[in-house]
């Protein structure tokens, strides 16, 4: 999809979310100046380690945290600048699904009541037609009508995540923020849920902001991929570009760290894993934030923060040396019978 043709649904404009910072302590810069767009019917994957700020970014998009600076535009509307009533309407266009399907459901409410809740809040009271919507949604996410009368503890993890998906869809949103939605599921259930997301996208013209630490999942679902580290984007581009031809050393390190289910005959030795842990977002390194773990870092990286620049059309990288970092993926990746 070309940049110009994209019908823009979400725009983050220099979004920053800082926490704390009172009484002389430095604030935690969870998100620190991110520009990102999501188009209609587009899936943008957001990857990074814990502490990268990816979940905080998702929470800022749906309005669970207020940005410190910058703006969140949904359908061109700067949400936080709107009056409260209008905010509510704008926000209903973006829904969220979280990682732990059990914690996201009220154990005292039946499945149907949970799914119905957003409609009841929107309309101010329960209406008979709500039940039809709930029934139709249960079917769409692959549950029986009988599941509607159950409570969360009577369901398996996969079924609970289906309930969360149904609830996310009930207001007919344009976009869903998926925050690690398959991380807690077994692989066979994960496959079912990922297939469900793909089908719903086709049927309902949905866009997703798909937050995950799992590269293979993101590669599977995403049209574009954003790589986040310590509150900033390191790389952004088409999924194939970013994952098969990564240009940022951090992206390369993430891909190299991905365990490969390939036999020893075609396994290529992975480069040594990057050392150390992600630094504290309260005291990010000067210059390039990744420099303390980067195998290519030089003095310049400590003094000069690399610009987030467009290297090729649609492919942005924040690294002084992105031009020199070329080549294919850093590990053996088996693609349907061959090694790339």
């Amino acid at each position: 999809m070309s940049e110009a043709a994209r019908d823009e649904l979400l725009r983050l404009d220099q979004l920053a979310v800082h926490f704390g910072g009172r009484r002389g302590k430095p604030p935690i810069r969870a998100v620190d100046g991110v520009d990102l767009t999501v188009g209609r019917r587009e899936t943008v994957g957001l990857i990074g380690e814990s502490g990268s700020g990816k979940s905080t970014l998702g929470r800022a998009v749906i309005g669970l945290v207020k940005p410190t600076s910058g703006s969140v535009l949904i359908g061109g509307e700067a949400v936080w600048d709107q009056p409260r009533r209008a905010q509510r309407v704008t926000r209903s266009r973006v829904q969220v699904i979280f990682q732990d399907p059990s914690e996201a459901l009220d154990p005292r409410m039946t499945v149907a009541a949970s799914i119905r809740e957003p409609l009841r809040i929107r309309d101010g009271k329960r209406r008979p037609e709500h039940d039809d919507v709930v029934h139709s949604l249960l079917a769409q996410v692959g549950l029986d009508p009988a599941h509607g009368d159950r409570r969360p503890h009577q369901l398996s993890g996969g079924q609970k995540q289906r309930v969360n998906i149904a609830r996310g869809l009930v207001l007919d949103p344009d976009m869903i923020v998926c925050d690690e939605v398959v991380s807690a599921l077994d692989v066979s259930i994960q496959a079912e849920i990922l297939n469900l997301f793909a089908r719903l996208k086709r049927e309902r013209d949905l866009a997703y902001l798909f937050i995950s630490h799992d590269l293979s999942v993101v590669d599977h679902v995403a049209d574009r991929v954003a790589v986040m580290y310590l509150g900033k984007l390191m790389e952004l581009g088409g999924a194939d570009e970013v994952i098969m031809r990564p240009r940022h050393p951090y992206t390369r390190a993430l891909i190299a760290a991905q365990p490969q289910a390939v036999p020893s005959s075609i396994r290529q030795p992975a480069p040594p894993p990057i050392a150390g842990d992600i630094p504290s977002p309260a005291a990010p390194p000067s210059g390039c934030r990744f420099r303390t773990r980067c195998p290519h870092a030089v003095d310049r990286c400590a003094t000069e923060e690399p610009l987030f620049r467009e290297l090729e059309p649609g492919h942005h990288v924040a690294c002084h040396f992105a031009e020199e970092i070329r080549g294919g993926p850093p590990t053996s990746i088996a693609v349907a019978g061959r090694t790339v």
Binding site: D186, H213, P259, Q260, V262, P273, I274, A334
Partner: protein, 358 residues
């Protein structure tokens, strides 16, 4: 090496030989529920064996049963031979000299496995002093040396710190240090990297591979992740609903799986660059212990089911011509199941290969 279990004596005694290990737990209604069903595998000295399966497959229960750490009321049948000596037939007190000294275990969640009120160093040195004659000072030296070996920077300072002062990756390194301080012959690693980031996982796997090579510590690696098993383990055991359904070399499993469940597990995981439109989802879910289906436990979820699969349970038998590849499937000789190097298995999934995009 996967022994054929018949004990026909080819080669040396394996370090760990688990034979027909069954575990029964009491259910709330007073009945007994079978959790493990004749689990059989072996680990040779200095080698790595992966135990893979989904939640409820019994892989963690197997690890606990080896160390006799099962919940109260559990009943165990079969044998767990360590160097030819059955751990299950010994008095429970004898396990004190096995745990931590000959077999150690590292769990998934280092924060619950470490005691928050004692320093890292105290917990490491206690393990050492429980099993060996070590003065406090000598134990401290050995502990710091071990922290260095597992790649903890500034080890003499970290030795005196508490678990909460360490990052998740560092805690797991400390757990590994604690597990290896007495130089055990076998390390059981139960999902040791599931709770950490992928970059930290890569560091820990590199560390464990290195320790396996340099210290010749055998590793029984429990994981749900076929990629991690492929990176870590020479041999692999696939578990489903409390049974071993396939055991072979990891390369054989990846290239030529013989059980539909093994093949399905590989194809359920999205793979980088594969561009599959749809993933192969194994239909249904793992049956609960105590309510297993008749015949082959996997038959309700299997795409290759035949009447015989429903009527008769299947034993774990060698694949024809491959003594070390064992599979529990009526139809394995008739099936040509896709491994990771095969083309997108249209027969399994159906549909086209087009990437979904807008």
């Amino acid at each position: 090496m996967i022994t054929d279990g018949s004990g026909n004596g080819a080669g040396p005694t394996p370090l760990l030989d688990v034979r027909e290990l069954s575990v029964f737990l009491p259910a709330p209604d007073g009945r007994e529920v079978q959790i493990l069903d004749e689990v059989t595998f072996s680990v040779d000295r200095g080698t790595t064996l992966g135990l893979i399966g989904e939640s409820g497959s019994g892989k963690s229960m197997t690890a606990l049963a080896i160390l006799r750490l099962l919940p109260a009321g559990a009943r165990v049948e079969g044998q767990v031979l360590l160097d030819g000596v059955d751990l299950l037939s010994q008095p429970l007190t004898a396990m004190k000299s096995v745990r931590g000294r000959r077999i150690s275990i590292v769990f998934q969640e280092p924060m619950t496995a470490l005691d928050p009120v004692f320093t890292i160093g105290y917990q490491i040195s206690q393990t050492l002093r429980a099993h060996r004659e070590f003065s406090r000072r000598a134990a401290r030296e050995a502990g710091i040396e071990m922290l260095t070996a597992v790649g903890i920077p500034d080890p003499s300072r970290r030795y005196d710190e508490y678990p909460h002062q360490l990052s998740g990756g560092m805690r797991q390194r400390a757990m590994i240090a604690m597990a290896l301080i007495c130089q055990p012959e076998l390390l059981i690693a139960d999902e040791p990297t599931t709770a950490v980031d992928i970059t930290i996982q890569a560091q820990l796997l590199a560390l464990l591979r290195d320790l396996n090579l340099t210290r010749e510590t055998a590793i029984l690696f429990v994981s749900h992740d076929i990629g991690v098993i492929a990176e870590m383990c020479r041999d692999v055991v696939v578990m489903y609903a409390g049974q071993v359904v396939e055991s072979c070399s990891t390369d054989d499993l990846l290239e030529r799986p013989r059980h539909p469940y093994s093949s399905g597990l590989m194809w359920a995981v999205p793979r980088i660059g594969s561009h599959a439109d749809e993933l192969f989802a194994i239909p249904g879910r793992v049956p609960l212990p105590g309510s297993l289906p008749d015949g082959c436990s996997f038959h309700p979820r299997c795409g290759h089911v035949q009447p015989s699969c429903i009527e008769h349970p299947q034993s774990l038998d060698p694949v024809v011509g491959q003594l070390h590849h064992r599979v529990r499937c009526h139809r394995s000789s008739q099936l040509d199941l896709p491994g990771v190097l095969d083309e997108h298995p249209v027969s399994l999934i159906g549909g086209d290969h087009v990437r979904s995009s807008s």
